[in-house]
């Protein structure tokens, strides 16, 4: 049992479909209206059936008032890190501090290469991500003087000016599954953002992955609770309880509370493209989950 004690947060993972063009915008407005905390979009710049994720995030941020936003997760190989850092800071300033940076090392290398991106091995991509995170954090850090110099193997910045600073302390959430990425997350991440459907063996896999993150965090002199544990989930609302996240909202709440109490997951992001599911998730699942978790945490 590992509960890191983070407050619970509920979000939406909406497909950034290009047609109809306002599909994701309208669902994001619904997500805000029904009271979700967060709206996120996947980022596959090689996929023309999707809108460009950064453009969509910026547009949706402009059309909403309170909901937080993040890529889930942004594709580093096709996003220049120094430009990305300033873009994130800019959107954070425009939106009054509602932006977090979800980022991944890249996965679909054939598609990335076809777009003109650089093909990296899994190991190289981890190093590249670490370099990029260093650059991004340095560029955001206007408390230091002098230009940013990072002479990495994959990314170099040589005297770039710092700033603009984001409006709030933007968290970096990392999509990670394999040990080296999990270690990187433990060392550098503010959040860990895997997807349930990619977990080998379902939620049980979280235990070992948490352990790797925790050890890496401790080794880096950090508290394991410095890394928020998040999870993209998918499920089905139905009148009868059938299996994990297939059933009525009460069943979902029990399932999610169990994942929180057992594995410390505190942010649940539901993949849904219909207003009805978002509303049930926000108005019924979220409060019921919070209630169970609060009651159990009080006992502990």
């Amino acid at each position: 049992m590992t509960d890191y004690g983070h407050d619970l947060c509920f979000g939406a993972f909406i497909t950034p479909r290009a047609q109809p063009p306002h599909h994701a915008v309208e669902l994001s407005l619904v997500a805000e209206q029904v009271g979700l905390d967060l709206v996120t979009f996947q980022d596959h710049p090689y996929q023309p059936a999707f809108l460009d994720t950064w453009t969509l995030l910026s547009y949706v941020a402009s059309r909403t008032r309170s909901i937080r936003l993040a890529g889930n997760v942004l594709n580093l190989p096709l996003r220049q890190p120094a430009v990305l850092a300033r873009a994130v800071a800019s959107l954070d300033r425009l939106s009054g501090g509602r932006i977090e940076l979800g980022i991944g090392a890249g996965a679909f290398w054939d598609a990335i290469e076809a777009m003109g991106g650089r093909r990296l091995s899994a190991g190289q991509a981890v190093v590249a991500l670490e370099e990029a995170i260093t650059i991004i954090r340095e560029l955001w850090d206007t408390s230091q003087r002098g230009g940013v110099r990072v002479n990495g193997t994959y990314y170099q910045v040589s005297g770039a000016k710092r700033g603009p600073a984001p409006a709030h302390n933007v968290e970096i959430w990392i999509g990670a599954y394999k040990p080296r990425m999990l270690q990187l997350t433990g060392r550098l991440g503010d959040g860990w953002l895997p997807s349930l459907s990619y977990l080998p063996g379902g939620t049980a896999a979280l235990e070992e992955m948490n352990r790797i993150i925790d050890e890496a965090a401790v080794a880096a002199g950090r508290s394991p609770s410095a890394v928020r544990r998040m999870l993209n989930i998918n499920g089905q609302f139905s009148s009868v309880s059938q299996s994990f996240l297939v059933g009525p909202p009460e069943k979902w709440a029990e399932d999610l509370a169990d994942v929180t109490l057992r594995y410390g997951i505190s942010t649940f992001i539901l993949a849904a493209d219909d207003p009805y599911s978002l509303e049930l998730f926000a108005r019924e699942v979220a409060p019921a989950t919070r209630e169970i978790v609060a009651a159990e945490r009080a006992k502990a």
């Binding site: 290009a18 047609q19 109809p20 063009p21 306002h22 915008v25 710049p45 090689y46 996929q47 023309p48 059936a49 999707f50 809108l51 460009d52 950064w54 453009t55 969509l56 910026s58 547009y59 949706v60 941020a61 402009s62 059309r63 096709l78 996003r79 220049q80 890190p81 120094a82 430009v83 300033r86 873009a87 800071a89 800019s90 959107l91 300033r93 425009l94 290469e113 076809a114 777009m115 003109g116 650059i135 560029l139 206007t142 230009g147 990314y155 170099q156 910045v157 040589s158 005297g159 770039a160 000016k161 710092r162 700033g163 603009p164």
Partner: protein, 763 residues
């Protein structure tokens, strides 16, 4: 020197990162003041600025009308492939308000410090040219082949183009040097220098270089808009250039319009009073003065790029498209052409798609089509028609998708008005809150217009009849452009013809239905082992015929050689009483071993909500045969089994009709084959083979439903319309469409000698 571009005005606002609210406020103020355009410089190495792409996207969300552009992007720090997809995305989100301002990227050192390439000037021009080719390639969604580009600086390999932008995004380039100017002449849509950086004579020389390069590339120099960033100061007393009262500004800017062809002035200022004064005093006066000086010289519409014009089809006079249709036409070089050209079942290559937004625009489109009788004319509502007649090759498509209103006219009499471009799932959703439903087809993505002029064999058919049986009046545009109403009282002949043969008489722009009250319905989906095909068909047919009218069932099978035969039975029970539903469904469940089943009680709208909203990318020609049949006799079932086992058919459907459909006398509507209990449809892959096989079982049928039939032989028309109906239709055709304009869906006068011979169209 003048290029005929009507004057436009923009602002240029410093994207200060220390004060994002004031930047956005000035952008909104620009819109309020009537500016056409708001722009921001792009220096990604400059932390005193907001990221320009992010800001443009944000501003798009805060404005409604004003167009947006960078002035200009630093291409060295913007990957062209990602930028192109981002541009398409922002164009979609903003409703077609984006222009792309591009520059080769100055400040080599700063670019390199960011991790960019830091190219030297000459290299940067080459890289920009490559970037433009990639951006154009990604945005050229009219071309369906993947994009490959192997340049010195950029390389993309077989990437899919798109997303499809909302409009043809112009590319403007900021430049001073001859190499860049020649590039503009070859490839860009606009030249965007900053006046304060130009020397006297630069505009003349620059225009000359651009024009020459354009002509050498086979372009018309008027394709390229001349924009200029200007800076100045309003003062009560006259002073230096653009330093003085508004009248002085007008005097000084007018020669730029008249002598140098400048079409767009972009005011570089963050001072709200300057921005206001320019909008109120300079812009309108300058427009007026330019109109005076250049009376009649302004182009009514932009000259399209040569590469767009090159894709035009012969036989269509594109320059004659009425101005009132501007914004409503899509030609083969337009980005959204790929989304428009084909239907669900048929690949198309029309020469022009017109998307009218009003009945008057439909009439204008019909008039244009009338002047082009030598090319095909297709009418499209939803584009899902099985016959695929809503597109063509080289002709005109009138696409009614913008005419999609659904409104209740009178609640007491359940009278609703529906436009042809609405889709049946939207109709069902709109009627559902009232407890009403209108039978349609089996798919929610089907458009109203095609189905409601052909018949409409749907899931409530045995209880409520055909869709057309609920029609009370139409408004339509006839071949001569007249807008008429037809009902039992007005133009009753036409109203008769529209209900079953509407596509031969004009374009219905509005349908008035009296819709029935329909409670929630029972809805079952049953998956059967149909190894005994003939027995299965026969048992299903017998049960359906013996069932109460509440039940309407469709049967589908997609036989595959070497695999067990599975049949899918859909059944709707027009009742929310569980007992009635079970009583109706129970006999069906027992006709064969069940693989899977589901049954729910739900609104009709829930059942119809089975379509994605999306575009269709059909290829080739649909190959179908169809027929209406009284009973599923053992003989027919045996023949059907042989046919299904032949491998010639990949989709086979039988829909129950009869019931209320048969209550209507055959002569009441142009849809006359009302005695049948079933409608049969087969989709095959080979025209000749399917026809040969189907012709042998033809004797089982008694007429056909034209909307399902693609056999082009003339006998089919006679089967769709029995002799008295066809004779009356031909008499009416002579009255309402004597020149046979509406002949592409089905031709009521195939031997008409007055019909112009088809011309060969270029490819």
């Amino acid at each position: 020197m003048h290029y005929g571009h009507p004057l436009e005005f923009g602002t240029f606002i410093t994207p200060r990162s220390d004060s994002p609210e004031s930047v956005v406020a000035l952008a909104r103020r620009s819109e309020e003041l009537g500016y056409d355009l708001v722009t921001f410089q792009d220096h990604p190495y400059q932390p005193a600025h907001l990221d320009t792409w992010t800001l443009l996207s944000w501003v798009a969300g805060q404005t409604e009308r004003i167009r947006i552009a960078a002035n200009v992007h630093n291409i060295q720090l913007r990957d062209p492939t990602v930028l192109a997809r981002s541009a398409a995305s922002l164009d979609l989100l903003s409703g077609g308000r984006l222009s792309l301002g591009l520059g080769a990227g100055a400040y080599q050192m700063a670019v390199a410090a960011m991790g960019g390439r830091g190219l030297r000037a000459g290299q940067a021009v080459e890289a920009l040219e490559e970037a433009i080719d990639i951006i154009r390639g990604i945005l050229d969604t009219a071309d369906s082949a993947p994009l490959s580009f192997h340049g010195t600086y950029y390389r993309v390999s077989r990437v899919q183009r798109g997303p499809v932008p909302a409009h043809d995004i112009p590319i403007w380039i900021g430049a001073r040097q001859p190499r860049m100017l020649r590039l503009i002449g070859r490839k860009a849509d606009g030249w965007l220098p900053s006046l304060p950086f130009l020397q006297p004579g630069d505009l003349t020389a620059g225009n000359a270089i651009i024009d020459e390069a354009a002509r050498e590339a086979g372009r018309d120099p008027r394709e390229i808009r001349r924009l200029v960033n200007i800076a100045g100061r309003f003062a009560p007393e006259r002073g230096g250039f653009l330093e003085g009262p508004s009248v002085q500004w007008v005097e000084e800017l007018l020669p730029l319009v008249v002598e140098h062809g400048v079409g767009t002035f972009i005011l570089m200022s963050d001072d709200e009073r300057t921005i206001e004064q320019f909008a109120r005093e300079v812009a309108p006066a300058l427009r007026e003065a330019a109109e005076r000086e250049l009376a009649g010289a302004f182009l009514a519409r932009p000259i399209r790029r040569a590469s767009v014009r090159a894709r035009r089809r012969e036989g269509i006079d594109y320059d004659a498209i009425p101005e009132s249709l501007d914004g409503a036409v899509i030609e083969p070089g337009d980005p959204s052409y790929a989304r428009m050209r084909s239907t669900y079942f048929r690949g198309g290559s029309p020469g022009l798609v017109i998307q009218p937004g009003t009945t008057a625009e439909v009439a204008t489109a019909v008039a244009f089509a009338r002047a082009h009788r030598h090319v095909p004319l297709s009418i499209r509502s939803g584009g899902h028609g099985i016959r695929g007649r809503s597109t063509n090759d080289g002709g005109i498509v009138i696409n009614l998708s913008r005419l999609r209103a659904i409104e209740v006219l009178d609640r007491a009499t359940r009278r609703v008005r529906i436009e042809p471009g609405a889709r049946w799932m939207d109709v069902a959703a709109a009627l559902s809150p009232y407890g009403w439903a209108l039978t349609s087809g089996d798919y929610g993505g089907v458009g109203v217009g095609g189905l409601a002029t052909a018949g409409g064999i749907g899931f409530l058919g045995r209880k409520h009849g055909l869709t057309i049986d609920h029609l009370r009046a139409v408004e339509m545009v006839l071949a001569d452009g007249a807008v008429v109403r037809a009902s039992d009282d007005e133009n009753p002949d036409l109203f008769w013809a529209v209900r079953g043969a509407g596509a031969g008489f004009g374009i219905v722009t509005s349908f008035e239905f009296e819709v029935p009250e329909v409670s929630n319905v029972g809805w079952a989906q049953l998956l059967f082992d149909a190894s005994d095909i003939a027995g299965f068909l026969e048992r299903w047919g017998a049960i359906v015929e013996a069932s109460p009218r509440e039940l309407t069932s469709f049967l589908i099978t997609s036989p595959r050689r070497g695999q067990p035969t599975i049949a899918f039975v859909l059944a709707m029970v027009a009742s929310d009483n569980p007992e009635t539903i079970v009583r109706c469904l129970q006999p069906l469940v027992n006709i064969a071993p069940l693989y899977d089943q589901s049954a729910i009680i739900a609104p009709y709208a829930t059942v119809m909500a089975n379509a994605q909203s999306g575009d269709y990318y059909g290829r080739g020609e649909p190959i179908t045969r169809s027929g209406l049949i009284e009973h599923i006799t053992p003989e027919f079932a045996a023949d059907a089994e042989r046919l299904l086992r032949s491998g010639l058919i990949y989709f086979f459907q039988i829909r129950a009709v009869g019931g209320a459909v048969s209550d209507v006398p055959p002569d009441a509507t142009a849809y006359a084959n009302r005695s049948a209990n079933f409608s049969v449809l087969a989709l095959g892959a080979h025209r000749a083979r399917l026809d040969a096989a189907w012709d042998q079982i033809q004797y089982h049928f008694n007429g056909l439903y034209l909307a399902f039939e693609t056999d082009p032989r003339p006998e089919r028309l006679a089967e769709a319309f029995p002799p008295p109906t066809l004779e009356r239709l031909r008499r009416l055709k002579a009255r309402y469409d004597p020149e046979n304009l509406f002949r592409d869906s089905f031709d009521l006068n195939p031997e008409d000698a007055s019909r112009p011979a088809p011309v060969e169209t270029g490819s």
